[in-house]
């Protein structure tokens, strides 16, 4: 979520002070995305500069009452219907960890996968508790988004595990891993097969 557009959305009903915008943003996202107040005023300053919000000429940012302008509303409507970028981060740290584990014969890759599966599930358990405690719709939607993201990682880890158990990993290794290119000796291959079967 981009913070400027979230602030514009919070101004659609009525003018608000910066501090209240911060509080409402955090309340609606179940404190999953904390904002510092400086960040809010910096963002409001930029929105004002671009004519997307106006203020009532209060002397300092904290005394200003911010309103959404017509261009601000148009910008918000346009943003709502613009598809987000779907490019994934170029280097997913977890993928790299699993790849590295795969390339080191003495590392038990199943153990590495299970460790990360456990961490992901623990985070999911903690997030699910927020659902139990609060029936606020906005919070449920944010928590759902996080849960689906973590679940996707768990499913990827499950798939890694299943491929390793089936022996697909050996094919990867025979064609050379991205981190340790080259064909290993037969002796090493046999050892790896023994470790991972």
């Amino acid at each position: 979520m981009t913070i400027p557009h979230a602030l514009l959305a919070l101004l659609t009903q009525e003018p608000k002070f910066g501090l209240r915008l911060k509080e409402e943003f955090e309340a609606r996202t179940g404190s999953l995305w904390p904002l510092n107040v400086g960040q809010v005023y910096t963002t409001l300053g930029r929105l004002e500069r671009d004519g997307l919000v106006s203020d009532d000429d209060g002397s300092t940012p904290s005394r200003k009452l911010y309103c959404l302008t017509k261009s601000g509303r148009a910008e918000l409507d346009s943003w709502l219907s613009t598809p987000p970028s779907n490019t994934s981060p170029p280097r997913n740290e977890l993928v790299i960890k699993v790849m590295v584990a795969l390339s080191i014969p003495e590392v038990d890759i199943s153990e590495v996968i299970q460790t990360h599966r456990r961490h992901q599930l623990r985070a999911m358990q903690d997030l699910t508790k927020l659902k139990r405690a609060d029936d606020d719709l906005a919070l449920l939607l944010v928590v759902d988004a996080e849960l689906f993201r973590l679940e996707a990682t768990v499913r990827w880890l499950d798939t890694c595990d299943a491929r390793l158990r089936r022996g697909d990993a050996l094919n990867v290794m025979q064609t050379g891993s991205i981190l340790r290119p080259g064909i290993k000796s037969d002796e090493q291959e046999t050892k790896n097969a023994g470790n991972r079967s």
Binding site: L121, M124, T128, F148, D158
Partner: protein, 248 residues
């Protein structure tokens, strides 16, 4: 006292001259108020664990204690009595009886246990109301949607004094929001004092549990515990190591 206590549970099947291991040396204790999820790949022994915990089949070795009573030491009638009175079981394929209405399906465990039809049906209707089916009590399973049938099965598992709820993939093929409603019902039953075990491959469902037990190659390999259930885990695992996932 644990409501469910599985000790050193193993299960093998004979396949010609070969012995197939379905479970090896599983320990699991579930206290009142606690919900445990069992996860693992297909064939890891999840469903076998549940059917043994529910007294539907016997382990090859090890003990199953339900509310402190060793199922192996009971005669078949006593075991059936525990299954009716203490254990609410949600089967993967629900096992609803098509010739009976929703209310009759739900009241069945009470009636089999000797309660008269009228009070049993009244109790069933109250339970169906709790699961959001107040207006469907006289419908037959075939006239209900998938989600509604699932709720009837949950109501049947929760009725009476079922202190142990066992559920095998309890949300079936439901979409995520309807599946979540089912999990909320099971979670609430546990919050109200029941002990629960669900078997699932769905991480979002498992995340409703206080503890997640991971099975792999018939063994318990690990567990995940939500932040505030650490104390429960320590209590459940007292006297045995927790690092390897055994002794849960």
């Amino acid at each position: 006292m644990s409501i469910l206590d599985l000790q050193g549970l193993s299960k093998t099947f004979a396949d010609g001259d070969n012995t197939i291991h379905a479970l090896r040396d599983i320990d699991l204790r579930v206290a009142a108020g606690e919900l445990v999820a069992v996860m693992g790949p297909s064939g890891s022994g999840k469903s076998t664990l549940l059917t043994i915990a529910g007294g539907l089949e016997a382990p090859t070795s090890g003990q199953v204690l339900v509310t402190g009573r060793d199922l192996a030491e009971l005669n078949p009638d006593e075991r059936a009595g525990i299954r009716r009175r203490t254990i609410g079981y949600v089967f993967q394929d629900l096992n609803l009886i098509n010739a009976l209405t929703a209310a009759e399906n739900v009241s069945l465990p009470l009636e089999l246990d000797g309660m008269k039809a009228k009070p049993a049906r009244t109790e069933a209707c109250t339970m169906l109301e709790r699961v959001g089916l107040a207006d469907k009590v006289h419908r037959f399973p075939d006239d209900l949607s998938g989600g509604e049938r699932q709720r009837v099965a949950i109501a049947r598992a929760l009725i009476g004094d079922h202190r142990l709820i066992l559920a095998d993939e309890p949300t079936g093929a439901l979409d995520s929001v309807n599946g979540e409603d089912i999990m909320r019902l099971i979670r609430r039953a546990c919050d109200d004092g029941a002990a629960g075990v669900i078997v699932t491959h769905d991480a979002q469902l498992a995340a409703w549990a206080d503890r997640i037990l991971f099975l792999r190659d018939e063994r318990a390999i690990d567990h995940a515990v939500s932040s505030s259930s650490t104390d429960l885990l320590l209590e459940a695992a007292s006297g045995s190591g927790t690092s390897g996932g055994q002794g849960l």
